[in-house]
Amino acid sequence: MAIAPERPKIYEGTRIPAPIPSVLEVREDLRSSDDVLTVNFGPNHPSTHGVLRLVVDLHGEDVVGLAAVVGYLHTGFEKSMEQKSWWKAITYAPRIDYLSFQANELVFVLAVEKLLAIEVPSRATWMRMLLSELNRIHSHLVWLGTAALELGAISMFWYCFRERDRILDLFELVAGFRMHTRYFQVGGLAEDVPAGFWDECAKFVEVMPKAVDEYEALVDRNEIWLERTQGIGLLSADDAIALGQSGPVLRGSGIDWDLRRAEPYLAYDQVDFRVPVYDEGDVYARYRVRMEEMRESVKIVEQAMRRMPGGPWIADDRKVVLPPREELHTSMESLIHHFKIVTEGFRVPEGEVYVTVESPRGELGCYVVSDGGPKPWRVKFRAPSFVALEATATCMRDALVADMIAIVGSLDTVMGEVDR
């Protein structure tokens, strides 16, 4: 598998600033002149997708210096999770990234399952994959809507949110919640899939590819969109790897890398899909990657629906999984298990694991340490958005002030995840 085949480079050498890789410093000759203006972009700027602050040095319209300041949304998720039982900590994971909540929930649940060495029934595995892909479409739709809105394409926002709402309806149908579903449970799923879901999901699968055609018709040949995205925010393949970029940003820089294929988890090795890769390394390439990923995700959803196995949706392990509700009235054992799991929580063997999944934003990792007790000792998330923001200084070499908005948008960061 050739990860990055030889091809003409988009720029020579490296553009990563030194000595601090994430800070672009003003050149010596400009620093002494009076023409450099330092501007605070954010933290409450509508196009920063949350509360991101960029301290920008401007020379006319040129960006000559830049430093990203994060932390305005720090809520201490990792500290809070250490105080909760494993069972209750799952609720925190989706709230870290409020657009790809399923992926965050999934990665934490997978990490706990790896420590427990518990077998998950195949119906749960396939359903997790289906929902993760729906969630990927959801996240890309919100990205496309807001990123286009910032560049002046207001109508895109309404089109994208139309389909997004359909996805949220599907989540509501399955889990009872539109966002932060907490549907993935250690051992499987919290409930079986309701019967009405399949019809609704089939309707969505039919509608979605046409919707993507519509989006492309709206922006793909739009002169303003092309002018503002092509050749902007360049990031070469080598720089992307050095800066730890992942997901659409990495694939937009010409690296053929997707954890769903390189390191298959769930049932991704049993479904057919393509990994879109673009070489240009600009904002437009990242946009193209995301558009095609939406189409591929629809294909995976369709295959998962067609091949969804029957059987149990959660493992039968009474030390970890809640017993069926109806047993509580007849079985003393079940009642004890229920009581123990709810009050004290289940115990997880001592150990440390690092589990990664391909979230809509890239490599989402979860490092979990257990001391054998009912609470996690340490939970650490590798947030792809956090890493993506490290690339702002590299991407914004030679950028104009108006390009900044396109570039920050193209990195698709969710500040809740950056600051955790």
Binding site: P21, Y354, D371, R378, V387, E390
Partner: protein
């Protein structure tokens, strides 16, 4: 894979250049203060799973294994090639010790190390920009340490002198 602190940079360079782990995925610092102490009863159950109908598979109870120092720093590396090999590079330090910075090996370590400094209070020797990243610049303490109380931040009231 555990290495001594002074050899961390060499080990990282070897892993990157000789063994092809070109991608630093994550840097995770952990505080083991109070590990295996009071209130930790250890794990009950076996790794192989539990069968309620089979006697004596209820497992065992023991305390977690001791850790060599107070803090660990885990570098999760990945090779971007077929097979996606991963390795965890780990160093152990005490409170007053420094960890060599890996920013010169993987530029992405910049913010990861700043985060470890900010939330765990670990110092990285040779880091070009060792400042807080998530908390305020004038914040006191390092929130993810085990001796940092939850809900312990001081609240300032408007009538206060």
């Amino acid at each position: 894979m555990v290495v001594d602190t002074p050899r961390l940079t060499d080990a990282a360079l070897h892993l990157r250049d000789e063994l092809g782990f070109n991608y630093l995925s994550d840097v995770a610092a952990t505080d083991y203060l109070g590990w295996g102490g009071k209130g930790v009863s250890g794990y009950i159950g076996t790794n192989r799973g539990r069968d309620l109908n089979e006697p004596a598979t209820q497992g065992y109870q023991r305390l977690p294994r001791d850790k060599p120092r107070r803090f660990s720093v885990s570098y999760h590396l990945l090779g971007l090639r077929a097979g996606a090999p991963r390795v965890r590079l780990q160093v152990w330090v005490d409170e007053d010790e420094q960890v060599p910075s890996l920013v010169s090996v993987w530029p992405t370590a910049d913010w990861h190390e700043r985060e470890a400094f900010d939330l765990m209070g670990l110092r990285f020797d040779g880091h070009p920009n060792q400042r807080r990243i998530l908390m305020d610049d004038d914040w006191e303490g390092h929130p993810l340490r085990k001796d940092y109380p939850i809900g312990g931040e001081p609240v300032r009231f408007s009538g206060e002198a």
